[in-house]
Amino acid sequence: MRILQVSEFIEVVNIVLKESFGNEEIGVEGEVSGFRISQGQWVSFDLKDDKALVNVFLPVWNLRVPVEDGFRVRVIGLPRVYPKYGKFSLSAERIELAGEGALKKALALLRARLEKEGIFDSSRKRELPRFPQRIALVASRESAAYGDFIRILSERWGGIEIDLYHVLVQGERAPQDIVHAIQTAQLKDYDALVMTRGGGSLEELMAFNDEQVVRTVYASKIPTLVAIGHERDMTLAEEAADVRASTPTDCARRLAPDRRDVQYELSTLLSGVEARFGRVLEDRRNILEHALNSPVLWLSSKRAALSEMRQACDTGVKQWLNVLRERLESRTRLLASLDPKAVLRRGYALVRDTAGKGIVSVATLKVGQSVSLVLQDGEAETRILKTTRKTDQASISRQVIDLSNNNLKLF
């Protein structure tokens, strides 16, 4: 018989227990009951099925998924007797949620808790720069998502420096990989941190619902853009990101503008500048032209005024001349009517003495005196036979008529 101390006994039992399962990892599935956390660091609960029950024990940092009573979980670990209390338990290295239902339930719980903390607050979302120059890309180099993202991005925009942080995007180690990548990226100066992965089952996408991953995304000082799975998939990491894209393709669209759009914008902006500059030039030209034209205009206006004045003068002079002419004509008519020759033409005669002096009274005439009679077409000399004063005018005229034709002389 071997005599062993208690501690030695427990040690042997534990070795046997461990070896009995070989090197293979074992997972035990069952339903959680009596879940509790003591001293903020130890988690314990009972894992049971219809027929049996085993106590599960683990440090709280090994618990990466939210667990509640009634959850169906898979506990990965080793059977062990805890020396101090001699209590048999399943010592868990990690716990996974078993089945879609449990995953969803756990997710809802975690989501509610993080939401309460403000992790998803829209008020703290930052905008991505419009033209990123340098980005960190957290993705799997082998994934279709990575290829799609790079292809679409290159179609849209060029010249971006992309640092690829290749990570596992599913499986047990994915969360710590992703956390490490995001944290490492913080040390560099990026315009954006992009994280993407293609579609998958809820279980495959679980790394992006991991609490640590979500918190790391939340804590990133680089603006984050996260696109996980298809349109309908929504992970907590996406909700915590500054910008969420539905797919890797959409992710590229949200990260960089399309160069055609930018080209169009550029040309619009430029033609605006050209047009406006043209207007500035035009304004200057107008001012210059105006400056050049105004003396010319002034001159021509003066010239116009001058010619107007001259015209006015011309008309004035013409009118004045007309008036003069009319006056002259009327005077001429008047004078013509007074012309003694006209009287002679009517048959009157002018009587002159030999000295040529006109005789207007019989009183100056003597009988026998020679006088000349001036008629319209000549002169005649005659002698006075008799004179009679005014009282017998008729007889004067009669006596004067005695003219000698041979003395006629042309005027």
Partner: protein, 70 residues
């Protein structure tokens, strides 16, 4: 120095600059010489931006540090 700028211009800043120039012209006053200078500057920026737009390649560099692995 302008050579360097065309090689690696900040697209966002260049756009801002161009917009500021456009605004300046919008106001329409100011000195003609200044206007000419600004117009020249606008053309320069636009040219650099166009060149930048023609860049087709994005450069991917894998960060050597291992993040887990296969």
């Amino acid at each position: 120095m302008p050579k360097k700028e065309t090689k690696k211009i900040d697209v966002a800043k260049s756009f801002e600059e161009l917009e500021a120039l456009a605004d300046w012209f919008e106001k329409g006053d100011g000195d003609l010489d200044q206007g000419l200078q600004k117009f020249e500057k606008a053309m320069e920026i636009a040219d650099a931006l166009r060149k930048r737009l023609d860049e087709a390649e994005n450069k991917v560099k894998e960060i050597k540090e291992r993040f887990g692995g296969e």
